[in-house]
Symmetry: C2
Subunit: 122 residues, 2 copies
DNA sequence: GTAAACATTCTCATTAATGTCAGGGTCAAG
DNA sequence: CTTGACCCTGACATTAATGAGAATGTTTAC
């Protein structure tokens, strides 16, 4: 499919799809006229990129982890390109875990605060 | 304490401390000479700001949630300034929970991937 | 009282993720 | 063949979070 259709199906602007290609997290083919051509799996990939970006990842982190996340259902390890840098991956993992931690602590605090107000208001 | 000391004690540059004031998440007093003056609790507050920023919050989100997080140990609800917008808070809570979710799913996937490689490599 | 250390404000620069617009190709429908 | 919809590249703008520097005032310590 061409960029417009992918954009429509993912809710992401063509501009951003081109950007994602530019930073190396999306790799469309080019047809002879120069148009970008995306396969069906691109849809899910783009959605995952969005999800990760909204969770606060940078495109650089995504470039590191996405290869190992993509298509995780039907893929054997052998399919993986040469092995993304495992140490980098472990590092990302640590950073993700720290973030989860911070988020959980703060979620707790906000919940407690809200509950206190709700109790008081009732 | 003055800005330099707070910077030293938190590892945050004076530049950023001024920035945090500018965006309304840090509120030093001013002494007669115009110098910013911070109280002891500012240290922890700054550290929390850093933590939240590193977890991917924006200063705007922090402005919303920090009032209800700050000093959460020794504070009665009554001390809270008029009540930060409870609905905004619930919204932030939802967003935090979605992020935790995304993060956890991806942590899982990365761990599985790493484990697979380690098993294979062994 | 002069110099060093630290403060102030203001301005400009940078990176990441986006938006927007301009100048041009491509293609399908009429 | 022309028009309209869609694609391409490239350039410039913006917001957030930072860094860096200039020009200037204040405090400290000799």
């Amino acid at each position: 499919m061409k960029i417009g259709e992918l954009a429509a199906r993912t809710g992401v602007t063509p501009r951003l799809l081109r950007y994602y290609e530019q930073v190396g997290i999306l790799h469309p083919f080019r047809s002879s006229n120069g148009y970008r051509t995306y396969g069906e799996p691109a849809v899910e990939r783009v959605l995952q990129i969005r999800e990760l970006l909204e969770a606060g990842f940078t495109t650089e982190m995504i470039r590191e982890v996405l290869p190992c996340l993509a298509d995780s259902d039907h893929r054997a390890l052998g399919d993986c390109p040469v092995v993304a840098d495992l140490d980098g991956l472990r590092h990302q993992l640590g950073s993700i875990e720290r973030r989860i931690d911070t988020l959980q602590r703060n979620r707790q605090a906000i919940k407690a605060y809200l509950r206190a107000w709700e109790d008081a208001g009732a």
